[in-house]
Homo-oligomer: 209 residues x 2
């Protein structure tokens, strides 16, 4: 079975990259060059017309959107660390957490450097950027106090939610949030950084950059 992940060093694609490492599946990685707008090339738009990463090219076709890629990889590697639990309610908690990251936290973050997705007005873009520390702190509060069970997102069981949180929480400092205010998230970052999957992914981008 042939799997190829299109990703980039600075993007949310890292989540799927870590998940692939955790899955034990064989895969090929294609690192996109955002500085040359490679994600908007005609060649890439045939893979993903949304001009975003990640895209996972599976034998049957292309899968986009991080929550969908993560679930697919988990289903392909049921015995790996990211295999889904059999309990449907716990599966739903995983999907709920991932949906919150994708629709609320990632979106709050994107208002800093990707504000032109929603507005084309310098005053508005500046106001959006200035507000990011507030909205991101609200998201981190919610994760710290109402979601993250510890040590992993869903308690003792590692899951696809963990690489997702690891990537999102890496934005804290640049988004004006002090990670020391969130001890459970901070401990989660340390636990993730110690995993060989994360070390492999981070070493890969050091080697190509």
């Amino acid at each position: 079975m042939s799997i190829t992940l299109y990703t980039s060093e600075t993007s949310i694609g890292m989540v799927s990259h870590i998940a692939l490492e955790e899955s034990g599946l064989e895969y090929e990685l294609i690192a996109m060059d955002f500085s040359s707008q490679q994600q908007s090339s005609q060649e890439y738009l045939r893979i993903n017309p949304k001009a975003r990463v990640p895209s996972l090219v599976a034998p049957q076709g292309v899968i986009t959107e991080t929550p969908a890629i993560l679930t697919y990889l988990a289903q392909l590697s049921p015995e790996s660390a990211i295999g889904l639990p059999s309990d449907l309610f716990i599966q739903a908690q995983i999907q709920s957490f991932n949906a919150y990251l994708c629709s609320t936290v990632h979106v709050a973050h994107a208002h800093k450097q990707r504000g032109k997705r929603w507005v084309d007005n310098e005053v508005a873009l500046k106001a959006m950027t200035e507000n990011v520390p507030i909205t991101m702190a609200l998201c981190f509060d919610m994760i710290e106090h109402s979601m993250l069970q510890g040590p992993w997102v869903h308690g003792d069981m590692f899951s696809i939610s963990d690489p997702y949180l690891y990537r999102i929480s890496s934005w804290a400092a640049a988004d004006g949030v002090n990670i020391d205010d969130y001890p459970t998230i901070k401990a989660h970052r340390s636990a993730m950084a110690a995993r060989s999957s994360v070390q492999t992914v981070e070493a890969f981008f050091r080697s190509v950059s």
Copy 2:
């Protein structure tokens, strides 16, 4: 098995409500009153600290976020119209479509009346609102030309993506998008409106409003 859905007439909760009707599962419905900010009451915050609808109260606990609720309901009713296909790649296409609606299309729409989620500045809010017809048209273009297979989202097979698109596409006119420019989406709306699940849900809110 006891299931309760917290929803409201004007919210994305309608998607889960239609899915419940399609599932054949028994459920109780609680219609929230947004005009009195019931979603921010202490009582409701114990159910969903995000102060949003929908929330699905299942025997094991609460599930939030539309994509997670939809998948859970589909798994609970595998023989119903919303049962998931066995093919994992097709399941991934369903999750990908739902993630796009939740993280991109719903978010674009929310910049009209929910802009204070991201900014607290009148100039910025006005600029956001004015841009909504442009961003929503881009989303409808993407759905019409690259996603919606017809007659249902994923072709001949009805799925949880269909009530989700039906709700999102109902915003077209108010968001400044002419549905006549999108014949496949328009036909999808007609096909959905003919289903008894949709008629039951729409009749319910006519009866309580």
